[in-house]
């Protein structure tokens, strides 16, 4: 039962993407594509995830996207200002941080968010330990670096994937 919902949800999402991408209004096209989307979803049925329907998690997901966008803008301006200074003010290094997240999807999103924010770049992950290249090392120790880099994102991801 759960698997059927996942397959149908994935089919709906794929068809929606096709609809937005092509802007087609022919019902025939949509029916053909929906059947192909169904075949693809059945082939990948073991890798699909259930949609998030919990209202609190949905609200946090939306808020997380906005928060991430604001962080990207702030960090981009920060890196851009560094680049145009006569002597580049950098203080780089690779620091080690720990994450509290357990689910693989949560960790994937956490590392992607860290990498998407300029100034920090995930170099390697080993279990719950992340190695992050940081353009301006403010704290060499594990706890301080975790506090500054990870905890902002983790607050929201813990609720979404907790």
């Amino acid at each position: 039962m759960d698997k059927t919902i996942r397959i149908l949800f994935s089919t709906a999402v794929l068809t929606l993407f096709f609809f937005i991408w092509t802007g087609t209004k022919e019902p025939g096209n949509l029916i053909i594509f929906a059947s192909f989307a169904l075949i693809v979803s059945i082939i990948y049925r073991n890798y699909l995830r259930s949609p998030i329907i919990h209202p609190k998690k949905l609200a946090y997901s939306l808020y997380y996207i906005l928060f991430l966008f604001v962080e990207i803008i702030k960090a981009n301006i920060d890196v851009a200002l560094r680049v145009i200074k006569p002597v580049i003010p950098i203080n780089p290094g690779i620091v080690k941080v720990k994450t509290k997240l357990k689910s693989p999807m949560g960790r994937l999103l956490l590392t992607n968010s860290i990498t998407l924010t300029p100034g920090t770049l995930t170099v390697d992950i080993d279990g719950d330990t992340l190695y992050i290249h940081w353009i301006d090392v403010k704290d060499k120790e594990e706890s301080g670096a975790t506090e500054r880099i990870v905890s902002n994102f983790e607050k929201y991801l813990e609720v979404i994937f907790g």
Binding site: V79, A80, T117, L121
Partner: protein, 113 residues
């Protein structure tokens, strides 16, 4: 001039400024990792703003543009992570200015064991 052309042009202009600063960063930064910081990621906002500007100028493309922005946000970090990881395992050194390298410490500990 219509308002959406004006807004779209401003967004595209600011996006191209960020792209230019990213390119300048690739030229000025001292080592590979810092170059990647500027080159692959100062450009995320640049690309997003440029695309969004085009999408606002031509509203009929807005749906496609939003899908493109989503794919950039999903794939860009994965490719830069793969590049950085490969570079570190190949042993490309960090610049002499670097403060700390915890990953190298960890690797040398494992070799001793």
């Amino acid at each position: 001039m219509e308002w959406n052309t004006l807004l779209g042009s401003i967004l595209t202009l600011s996006g191209s400024i960020f792209l230019f600063l990213g390119a300048l960063g690739v030229f000025r930064m001292p080592d590979l990792y810092n170059r990647m910081q500027a080159g692959t990621k100062a450009t995320t906002l640049g690309t997003m703003l440029t695309l969004l500007g085009i999408g606002i100028c031509h509203t009929e493309w807005l749906g496609q543009i939003i899908i493109l922005i989503m794919f950039i946000a999903l794939t860009n970090p994965i490719s830069s992570h793969a590049l950085a990881r490969a570079a570190h395992f190949k042993g490309i050194p960090l610049t002499a200015k670097s403060v700390t390298d915890k990953l190298k410490e960890e690797e040398s500990k494992e070799e001793v064991r």
